[in-house]
């Protein structure tokens, strides 16, 4: 078995490189081609293979330094990548709000408006709140029912707001894409997929768990919101979180290697 110093060097570099798979693959391919060309030229000059490979690596620079230089991102590139990831997650967030509002509406049809949108049993309405709820919901017989009905109506506003925000974000994305096509082609660096997936999983699972706690606590801490609405929000957030979590696990799954 012969030792290939260039292979060992590339393994070390791959271990240190950050970025998307395409970025790392490109840097590695270029490094290998360069090192093999350099070593071949030195061998033609009379060096043996091992010495030529060592000299080629020495001229190329040590793996930690080159990987560090390759991993460096300009602040504007980093900001752009963060904004793109933020927009992507925002679109999911707005979709989640819309789906959760629809789910809560469906839940209220099979259970009750009070359970989904009503305030918890221990919640005490102030006189000012009662006056307000009864003024906006004159058909309600009492303060508690008026608050639940108003909360139910508000859920439509949530769906509408989520849809409008989603359309605005989609419009901005389309406008930016159209603008990008007119400008000279540039390399766009996004955050690695596993990073975006990890952020999404953390945000959605965290929100989902917090909502489950708020719903199960069923105390005044959750304010005048219905238990059912919180469960609906929690279910949707957890589903989105699980999807992001699966995406994250798939991106970090070790690729099986075939023995040389």
């Amino acid at each position: 078995m012969t030792s290939d110093r260039i292979d060992a060097y590339l393994d070390d570099m791959l271990d240190r490189l950050e970025g998307t798979p395409a970025e790392r693959r490109r840097m590695l391919t270029e490094a290998e081609t360069h090192l093999r060309d350099s070593a071949a030229a030195l061998e033609r000059g009379g060096m043996n293979t091992e010495a030529a490979q060592s000299a080629a690596i020495a001229s190329f620079g040590d793996a930690p330094t080159i990987a560090k230089a390759s991993n460096r991102r300009s602040p504007s590139a980093l900001l752009g990548a963060l904004v793109r990831a933020g927009v992507q997650l925002s679109v999911c967030g707005f979709a989640a709000i819309g789906v959760a509002a629809l789910l809560a509406r469906g839940l209220s049809l099979v259970t009750s408006t009070q359970w989904v949108y009503g305030a918890p049993a221990g919640y005490t309405f102030t006189a000012a709140q009662c006056t307000h709820w009864l003024a906006v919901q004159p058909a309600a017989s009492n303060c508690r029912d008026a608050a639940a009905l108003e909360s139910s109506d508000d859920s439509f506003l949530f769906i509408l707001a989520a849809a409008i925000m989603g359309l605005i974000v989609a419009g901005v994305i389309l406008a930016v894409m159209r603008l990008a096509r007119r400008r000279p082609r540039r390399v766009v660096r996004n955050l690695p997929r596993n990073v975006t997936a990890a952020i999404g999983a953390t945000a959605f699972l965290g929100t989902g768990l917090a909502l489950v706690v708020a719903a199960t606590a069923d105390g005044v801490a959750r304010g005048p919101r219905g238990q059912g609405a919180l469960y609906a929000d929690a279910a949707v957030a957890l589903i989105f979180g699980v999807v992001f979590g699966i995406q994250f696990l798939l991106t970090i799954r070790a690729v099986p290697t075939t023995p040389a």
Partner: protein
């Protein structure tokens, strides 16, 4: 030649080398070394992150090509890159001229 000084001007050196025609990284490193009569002996691997950064700024373009059985990324200067090279070269000439005047050497 101080390595830091080469590193600080690597973008200009690469744009100047690419102004002669498309080339891959190994050729560019060799070209810079040869043109400087061996004075600019930088760590060759640093050429690639610099090329990637120039490409992300739209100053150069690149594509994969196969030579002698190996895939190589071949780089080419863009119109924006030529303008940047001209501007940076003029800045450098002015700086060198001023330095020479201060040092009392012929500019």
């Amino acid at each position: 030649m101080a390595t830091d000084r080469i590193r600080g001007n690597l973008d200009l050196l690469l744009l100047a080398a690419l102004a002669s025609g498309p080339a891959h990284g190994y050729e560019l490193a060799a070209s810079i070394r040869e043109r400087s009569a061996g004075e600019f002996d930088l760590a060759e691997g640093t050429v690639y992150p610099a090329l990637h950064a120039l490409e992300s700024r739209g100053l150069i373009t690149s594509s994969w090509q196969v030579f002698a059985g190996r895939r190589r990324r071949v780089y080419e200067i863009s119109a924006a890159g030529r303008s940047a090279r001209d501007r940076q070269a003029a800045d450098w000439q002015r700086f060198a001229s001023n330095m020479n005047q201060v040092l009392g050497a012929p500019s």
